[in-house]
Symmetry: C2
Subunit: 290 residues, 2 copies
């Protein structure tokens, strides 16, 4: 199967699993808004979960709770990040954001419930082969998503907008390691955690991949189209915010992303050819147009 076909397949599986979990909630606005926010996207994080699980001998079916869980956390973070008091975005995945389609209260609550859903999914008996692995996944997700991971990255990002001087390359790297890197890291390591294997090679892969992903995002923000990305672009430039592109230039940013992809591929050497799909994911991350 080609990489594109596998990515599309895992995205469909993950989204169906996530939507089925949401459909089990009581009917109403919150459930509708959760399902709305859970639709669409590349599902890169879910793909990483399924591929790292496969690398450790687990089937897609055995990894779908974890794949849906990380996409639930990602969806929650986007819903809250789009709020007027945060990034104030009206377009996401080509659709009106949740607070535009409904209202801010619905966006706050639907985001809250999407975060809760992630832990509900990971506490299921089907989420990992044993309780120890379930606890390891949950503990690692709480580390990645909270005030020393994703939320801390988002807070640094908001603080940067109010700061008198633009961030340095080192500060942006730290910010992005939290804001996007932490969840990508959790996703790539999930398969190892499910079977109690050492996640270190996958963590190294994900650290390089996450940074390459963010650099590619910054390049897309300059060169991409709203039609293809489904979101408003060039907001960072308008706000005078430092990005990898503003600090390195377009060519410099492209070079840096290519070096990182090479590092990501190299980190997978312990797994041999079995990790080819993850290598392709690294190349995809800097070649995508959405």
């Amino acid at each position: 199967m080609s990489f594109a076909a596998r990515l599309a397949e895992t995205a469909a599986l993950t989204e169906a699993h996530l939507l089925a979990a949401i459909a089990a909630y009581p009917p109403g606005t919150i459930r509708d808004a959760m399902a709305y926010a859970a639709r669409g996207g590349k599902r890169l994080r879910g793909f990483l979960v399924l591929e790292s699980a496969r690398l450790h001998g687990l089937s897609d079916a055995q990894a779908l709770d974890a794949a849906a869980a990380i996409e639930a956390v990602h969806a929650y973070s986007l819903v809250h990040d789009d709020l007027p008091c945060m990034d104030d975005d009206d377009l996401r995945r080509g659709q009106p954001t949740v607070h535009v389609k409904w209202d801010e209260a619905t966006a706050v609550l639907a985001g809250d419930a999407l975060q809760t859903l992630a832990y509900e999914l990971l506490s299921r008996a089907s989420a990992a082969p044993d309780d120890a692995a379930r606890v390891a996944l949950i503990g690692a997700l709480a580390q990645a998503a909270g005030a020393r991971g994703m939320v801390q990255g988002q807070a640094l990002d908001i603080a940067a907008e109010a700061a008198a001087s633009p961030l340095t390359l080192e500060q942006i790297t730290e910010l992005q390691a939290g804001k996007t890197g932490a969840l990508i890291g959790w996703a790539a390591c999930a398969g190892a955690r499910m079977v109690g294997a050492d996640p270190a090679p996958l963590a190294a892969y994900a650290a390089a991949l996450g940074l390459a992903f963010q650099i590619a995002d910054d390049i897309l923000d300059i060169e991409g189209s709203t039609e293809k990305t489904g979101k408003r672009l060039r907001k960072d430039e308008a706000a005078g915010k430092a990005t990898f592109v503003s600090l390195l230039g377009l060519d410099g940013a492209r070079d840096r992303a290519r070096v990182l992809v090479g590092q990501a591929e190299a980190a997978l050497s312990p797994y041999g050819d079995a990790a080819d799909s993850l290598r392709q994911a690294a190349r995809f991350v800097i070649a995508r147009d959405s």
Copy 2:
């Protein structure tokens, strides 16, 4: 030890444990806002965790992760509930609310991170005697806190404000079972879940206790003082919202709360005298002035 002394002791233990967990995060606004939101309050939910743990042979030290976890979820729900797009409150526990002291973005993120912290605490090795119990606590918390528990109750509460006609007694009872009952239920059952015992008697106790708690809150909203409760009162009346008091009258509400406390006490009969402290908690809930 008197009930009041035991309540004060458990509140101090739980708050210290929660603040220590927050202090381990990277310094910054989010950590400060989390600690600010985590201070104060009666800590009834933490008390219920510690007492139900003691009832099942566990020490305070063995139950503090769970007690701090439920208080973290409670604190997160208050921070988000106080936002301008939700209940728009400027005073909580006698202090300016988080979005007043900082800003809305900080309140959204600090609330998000407090929810994450709850799952971090419950995934610790010290949270329960074994992994199966940790997973049981986490799964039950995700059920109680999400879109079929607390968040659903909050959504019904917000929908009620926009509704053309006030809620019926049945609808308010359902709303409160989610909004306040679900976390109280989790707290009361925590000790049983930690040792794999049947939580049914504690669940019955908590269902009656949670409803009595809410009726007492509605009475306090009419008869209480902002000085003692630390929050703005009589907002429901001004908004024309149905409450237990508006539907049953003050005397009727008091009678109903007393009946519920009797039911809560009766539900504890399987535990004999060992549950006296939980019986005192039920009586306290309707006698408090804050």
